[in-house]
């Protein structure tokens, strides 16, 4: 049902329309003048050249974390493929030859075309082995196959990239979410 909108009776000057038009013109030209003299004033971010700094807790592309000895932290517990609402994580588990008590993922694929970036996999992980703190939002490829991120891709994702959320949290611990545990990688 449409809500009745109370209408206001226009004053004589308003219904003559001309003064209102002039007021509008003054408003628009003031924007033009301001923008001509200050081209950096626009809110627009000229995207491919300039990028929006994402919030530190933005959920971007997934990465896999490693232990100090270089092995992935993941123990192939299958928590994340179980919780994943999009069913896009595929893990093939194997046994660690050095330590038969441990499992590890032989293959760890995430189909980014199906992922809904909900972050449940990160929350479910008991080993803090997967995170979405890369702040990478340009996830694209020419083929469907390339949109499936595999283990080595996700391990090396942050090599030589912009600072991770982790670095931001390290520099300024009060911004970190409650209960955040820092990655074990050495501080460069």
């Amino acid at each position: 049902m449409a809500l009745p909108v109370p209408s206001r009776k226009m004053t004589t000057i308003e219904s003559a329309y001309l003064l209102e038009v002039v007021k509008g013109l003054v408003l628009t030209i003031s924007h033009v003048i301001k923008n001509i003299f200050d081209p950096d004033h626009f809110r627009t971010i000229e995207y491919p050249d300039m990028k929006k700094p994402m919030a530190v807790r933005y959920r971007g592309a997934h990465r896999l974390l490693t232990r100090p000895d270089g092995k992935v932290k993941c123990v192939a517990c299958m928590c994340c493929p179980t919780v994943c609402p999009a069913k896009c994580i595929t893990i093939i588990a194997g046994e660690d030859p050095d330590d038969p008590a441990e499992k590890f993922p032989v293959e760890f694929d995430i189909d980014m075309l199906r992922c809904i970036y909900c972050g449940f996999c990160v929350e479910a992980c008991p080993k803090d082995a997967i995170r979405m703190d890369t702040r990478i939002y340009e996830i694209n490829a020419y083929t469907r196959q390339d949109m499936v991120h595999n283990k080595s891709y996700m391990v090396n994702l942050m090599e030589g990239k912009k600072p991770e959320a982790e670095d931001v949290y390290r520099a300024n611990p009060s911004t970190a979410p409650a209960g955040y545990t820092f990655d074990e990688k050495p501080i460069p």
Partner: protein, 448 residues
């Protein structure tokens, strides 16, 4: 055939080419102004991606790419159209838009080989009547397109356009009648001449028709009606895209659409040119004592003042362009990006123009133009340049006003449009005609 016989023909041809070129050169500029102006009004940067060798020219390259796009696009002819009228409609729209310009004077006269050439394409005396006739014909292109497209949206667009034309033509004609009364002639040249002389010193802007009471009212009415006649917002009902898809040009694509698109802008330019002529003194400069005779007498001095006067602003533009290197945008680019050339290019361009103007100014001071070209031709050329500049600036401002209003005001509803036309503007225009007659009588008795 002797030169004496060929010259008039050549002059007419040159003037025709000039009239078409004048309108057609402003069209891409207006398309650019429409995009960039709307962007700046809405706090956006507007078109700024396309570039040639790194020079983006503030979005002008987009107009160029648009032309290429429109030429390359498939020209679709729907099966259900009435093909003859459908084919001629865009041509009619464009031809009429261009042909209105022929009676508008853009300068006083030029003397070539002893012939005094009047600077308007056609020297007919009923200029204003011709303008009114042609602007009412302008709706034919839209009506033909709307009817021949054979679909209900286009037809509605065409019908709205003709209804709008009928309603606003009256107010437009009556406000133009005020101008005939004040000038005592319907020749546009006489109307301009009548605005150069007056109670203030010759050439002063206070002599323009818009600075008299009936003239000012007539201007507001004429200008409002001009919005309706050119189908610009707030009266762009014939193509109201929310209701009518695209109105009369729904079925057109490729260059045929481009013709309609250009015709709209050409109509704006012509409306601005006619308004300038009727109300803003046409090619008159608006400065006290600066009329055609003054410009011819002091040609060298005028050139020196213009040349030297343009140097400081051009240098300022150059400095601003140079400073833009430090914008956040350029800092974000990689070091070898060719767009880094742009601020340097513009700094050099404006700087170069400043040098050219400095040269003109010095040449003027040294008295070179009149000594090389002769007093008569030198004076005529300076007068032509000054008059053309004054005229073009006024026309461009008028066109900008169309754009400015479009991005300020929302579209009228159809009944509001009719109410405004018939119940407000028509009675006001009639009353203004009486006021003008009274004004002239009072002025004449006071002067006598």
């Amino acid at each position: 055939m002797s030169m004496e016989e060929v010259l008039p023909v050549l002059v007419v041809l040159a003037k025709c080419v000039f009239a078409v070129a004048f309108v057609m050169q402003i069209v891409p500029l207006l398309i650019w102004a429409e995009r960039k102006g709307s962007a700046y009004i809405q706090d956006r940067p507007g078109p700024n991606r396309a570039h040639i060798l790194g020079i983006r020219a503030g979005g002008h390259v987009h107009s160029l790419t648009d032309v290429v796009k429109l030429i390359m696009k498939e020209d679709i002819v729907p099966g259900h159209v009435n093909w003859f009228y459908w084919f001629i409609a865009p041509v009619v729209a464009m031809t009429i838009a261009l042909s209105t310009f022929v009676v508008v004077p853009f300068g006083d006269y030029l003397t070539i080989m002893g012939h005094k050439i009047d600077l308007r394409v056609s020297e007919i005396d009923g200029g204003l009547l011709y303008v009114l006739a042609m602007t009412s014909l302008g709706v034919y292109g839209i009506m033909l397109a709307g009817w021949a497209s054979n679909n209900k949206f286009s037809l509605l667009g065409g019908l709205r356009s003709s209804a709008q034309m009928v309603s606003y033509e009256l107010a437009m004609g009556l406000s133009a009648a005020v101008i005939f009364l004040m000038a005592g002639s319907v020749s546009l040249r006489d109307i301009v001449d009548a605005q150069i002389v007056g109670w203030a010193p010759n050439g002063t802007f206070l002599n323009w028709n818009v600075f008299s009471v009936p003239g000012a009212i007539a201007f507001v009415l004429f200008w409002t009606a001009a919005f309706a006649e050119t189908n610009r917002t707030p009266f762009d009902l014939p193509e109201g895209e929310a209701e009518l898809v695209a109105g009369y040009h729904t079925e057109y694509s490729s260059l045929r659409f481009a013709l309609f698109f250009m015709a709209e802008y050409a109509n704006m330019i012509v409306a601005a040119a006619v308004t300038t002529t009727l109300f803003f003194g046409g090619f008159s400069t608006g400065l006290p004592f600066v009329d055609g005779a003054f410009l011819r007498e002091h040609a060298d001095l005028v050139l020196a003042v213009i040349g030297l006067g343009a140097v400081p602003p051009l240098l300022a533009f150059s400095a601003i362009a140079w400073k833009r290197r430090n914008r956040d945008f350029y800092k974000a680019l990689s070091a070898d990006d060719i767009r880094h050339r742009e601020p340097r290019f513009f700094a050099a361009l404006w700087g170069g123009l400043a040098v050219v103007h400095l040269g003109l100014g010095v040449a003027g001071l040294a008295g070179i133009p009149t000594s090389v070209l002769g007093v008569e031709l030198g004076g005529d050329l300076v007068a032509l340049a000054v008059h053309m500049t004054a005229f073009s600036l006024k026309v461009l401002f008028g066109c900008w006003f169309f754009i400015w209003v479009r991005w300020t005001i929302v579209r009228f509803r159809y009944d509001q449009l009719m109410n405004l036309g018939w119940k407000r503007m028509l009675p006001l225009a009639l009353a203004n005609l009486f006021l003008a007659a009274l004004w002239i009588i009072v002025k004449e008795t006071m002067l006598a």
